[in-house]
């Protein structure tokens, strides 16, 4: 078990390094840097001026070296400004008279400066991850129990009407990406002209114009049911179908096992068979699936936060990518890659832990 864990973590670190390098390379392509120079200094620079701006800001060195600097394993670049003061990667925004450190990469906690928000990247990330954390928490609270319940109910008696209805529902939700379900939900519940809101308003059952709010901007200060239900439902729906289908498959397989039949023949009631004998074994596979859903949830988060204008992690990523904010985009990628890899590790380890039939040398 120990060596298995060690090897998994080794591969994970290698993957993380490879992925961050790819992101670093793609965000630091010459056209991106040229755009950065023009937006930071002056939009009407000539090519020579761009080159000299890039050289004096440490972008002239090879990409591997800059990656090392950004990571914090290679000393940051240093130079002198035109008026003779020392400058360099680690000299930015230092307190007065402080000595500049030799290394300043993400390993030292220096994540850089966002050119769009004019703030340190760490501050923006902390704030946006906080918002997204709430969103994810509620998505999990809604998604996991609903999906497991649907899966177990439809898998427990295969081929019945309940099974058919619930399976069709699961297929329908997996066919509805977030940008479609979000639009449909807003049209039904949060439109002043369509859906059920005008009808409710006519009868005087709701005080405002719409039942739910079509944006989640106000949820950043205070989460209420009316401003948060739609974004949470939008993300959860897409995941529910997938997890429920996996749970159903796993449940039907368990229900045909010999020990279930033995228990039934011994006279154990159907309820007890499902709850005490089948459920535990049937929930091993969905556990991995739920963990591996995280990359997908990340996708959903980006779409939903854009759609509902909720300024969390996904919204920040879109802003960073759309405005060529290299440092912020890199930081977002690190977080995204980290989340994906850690959940993969948890899913692998958890699978071994939950399933005693698997032995690892």
């Amino acid at each position: 078990m120990f060596f298995f864990l060690l090897r998994r973590i080794g591969v994970m670190i290698l993957t993380a390094l490879a992925l961050t390098f790819v992101v670093f390379y793609l965000t630091n392509l010459p056209p991106n840097l040229e755009k950065l120079a023009k937006s930071e200094a002056s939009a009407r620079m000539t090519d020579d001026q761009v080159d000299s701006w890039l050289a004096s800001n440490g972008f002239a060195s090879p990409v591997v070296q800059r990656y090392g600097e950004w990571l914090g394993v290679v000393p940051g670049w240093t130079g002198t400004t035109s008026d003779g003061r020392p400058t360099g990667r680690c000299y930015n925004r230092l307190p007065k008279d402080a000595e500049a450190p030799r290394y300043c990469g993400i390993l030292q906690g220096d994540w850089g400066w966002s050119t769009v928000f004019k703030q340190p990247v760490t501050e923006i990330l902390a704030r946006s991850l906080g918002h997204t954390g709430w969103l994810m928490l509620w998505v999990m609270i809604v998604m996991v129990p609903t999906a497991l319940l649907i899966g177990v109910l439809s898998g427990m008696r295969e081929g019945t009407i309940t099974d058919r209805v619930l399976s069709t529902f699961s297929i329908a939700t997996t066919a509805t990406p977030e940008y479609v379900s979000g639009v449909i939900l807003i049209a039904i519940f949060a439109s002043a002209t369509a859906g059920i809101s005008p009808w409710l308003a006519e009868h005087g059952w709701i005080s405002g114009k719409t039942l739910f709010q079509g944006t989640a901007t106000s949820a950043m200060d205070k989460i209420t049911f009316w401003n948060f239900a739609l974004p949470v439902m939008t993300i959860a729906l897409y995941g529910i179908g997938y997890i429920a289908r996996m749970t159903r498959a796993s449940m039907t397989e368990v229900m045909t096992q010999q020990y279930i039949r033995t228990a039934r023949l011994k006279g154990v009631s159907f309820r007890d068979v499902v709850l005490k004998h089948a459920l535990r074994n049937a929930l091993i596979a969905p556990f991995t699936v739920i963990m591996l859903q995280f990359p997908w949830l990340l996708n959903g988060v980006v779409i939903v936060e854009t759609l509902f204008n909720y300024k969390g992690f996904g919204w920040t990523l879109v802003q960073a990518a759309g405005n060529n904010d290299i440092q912020l985009l890199l930081a977002c990628s690190v977080v995204a890659v980290f989340v994906v890899l850690v959940t993969q590790l948890i899913s692998d380890v958890g699978y071994v832990f939950l399933n005693p039939r698997i032995r690892l040398g």
Binding site: L29, A175, V180, V183, S191, P295, V318, V337
Partner: protein
């Protein structure tokens, strides 16, 4: 002309789709009549779920084919006074002989939502199936040897596949589908690698089968190489002198990115299937007969892995459609005028709470296509498990 009621909209819309209904009825009649002779495709018509799914999918395929006959207005033309028009609104001062209504209303630039939705089907079905086919060829070409030989090759390829799979898709798109990337020529290098796989795949496929018979082998492999490399030069490098094979750089970028995201998934499935099948007796028999590894992989293992692969193919076209919609939704890699569903949803969502129809129509269209593909896959899975 007066505005149409909902019944009117429905009737007139139904009539506009007449070529589709005709084609659907013909397809179903012929398929059900000869279903006993049509192998897996015929068995599909034994399953209700499969038939419903197939009907949805074929509806959109025929819509894309006959789009030119179905549309009521030019999807790019703006008519005065039709901005955000409600469904069924009559066109103000219509030109002689033009269609008198906006069946599903107008969007915020006064274009016909109905025609844009119909043309959008063409946009989506032009890319999604083709990209899925290329992803499959790439996944199969790499997955077969990885599963069959195992060892270092497998470790290396699996690491690469996991690398791509660990990338959040949306981030990859934001990094790959940008004008800056097109400027650097990176999509062309990607395409250069990617479009090589079909040529390799088909040459090896035919070579492994016909190498005991050199004249036929030379003819087949030669033909594949000539046509394949011709298409390769045109598609990847835009060097085709006759101009038959050419791709717009932006479209190429989208295409390459979508294939790149899908191929590792296919690779993993193929690898798993091969590892399972290679332990069977008929593979051992082939090895004893002295058959080459590529013959065994391509002509013995691959046909026996077709069931799960066909099911995954259907699901993956749906997934690719969703991905293309996501790209359109974020305005990546498509021209702003393009009627594809993703960008139409994005256009419509700005006025979503007041005029929902402009976003709702393409959203429902996309959903029904993907739902059809999922149901079709479900039906196929059921039927292929039965034998």
């Amino acid at each position: 002309m007066d505005d149409l009621s909902w019944t009117g909209i429905f009737t007139h819309g139904f009539i506009r789709f007449w070529p589709v209904w005709l084609a659907l009825v013909l397809t179903f009649a012929v398929s059900i009549r000869y279903r006993r002779r049509l192998a897996l495709y015929g068995k599909l018509f034994d399953s209700t779920v499969g038939m419903i799914g197939f009907a949805f999918v074929m509806f959109w395929v025929f819509t894309a084919l006959f789009a030119g006959m179905i549309i009521t207005h030019d999807p790019l033309v703006q008519l005065s006074g039709m901005k955000n028009a409600l469904p069924g609104a009559a066109v103000k001062s219509p030109a002689e002989g033009s269609y008198p209504w906006y069946l599903l209303g107008g969007d915020n630039l006064a274009r016909d939502v109905f025609s844009r939705m119909v043309m959008g089907a063409r946009e989506v079905l032009k890319i999604a199936p083709a990209a899925t086919v290329f992803a499959f060829i790439m996944g199969i070409t790499l997955g077969l040897p990885a599963g069959y030989f195992g060892g270092r090759l497998d470790t290396f390829l699996s690491f690469l596949a996991n690398l791509v799979l660990a990338f959040p898709v949306i981030l990859l798109f934001y990094l790959l589908v940008t004008p800056e990337i097109v400027e650097t020529g990176i999509p062309m290098y990607f395409a250069a690698v990617l479009f090589l796989f079909p040529v390799i795949f088909f040459s090896v496929l035919l070579n492994s089968r016909f190498h005991p018979n050199p004249p036929r082998r030379n003819l087949y492999v030669g033909a594949v190489l000539v046509i394949g490399l011709w298409a390769y030069l045109g598609l990847a490098f835009n060097l085709d002198p006759t101009g038959v094979f050419a791709m717009d750089p932006n479209l190429l970028n989208v295409f390459v990115s979508v294939v790149f995201v899908n191929a590792p998934g296919v690779f993993r499935i193929v690898r798993g299937l091969v590892m399972d099948i290679k332990a069977r007796d008929y593979v051992a028999a082939g090895q004893t007969r002295g058959e080459g590894p590529w013959y065994i992989m391509l002509w013995e293992i691959l046909p026996n892995a077709r069931g799960p692969l066909i099911v995954d193919f259907c699901l993956r076209i749906g997934y690719t459609t969703i991905l293309l919609g996501t790209l359109g939704f974020f305005g990546l890699g498509v021209s702003p005028e393009s009627p594809d569903w993703g960008s139409t949803i994005d256009d419509g969502r700005k006025l979503l709470s007041i005029y929902p129809h402009a976003a709702l129509v393409p959203a429902l269209a996309l959903m029904s296509l993907v739902l059809g593909l999922n149901l079709l896959a479900d039906g196929l899975r059921e039927e292929s498990l039965r034998d």
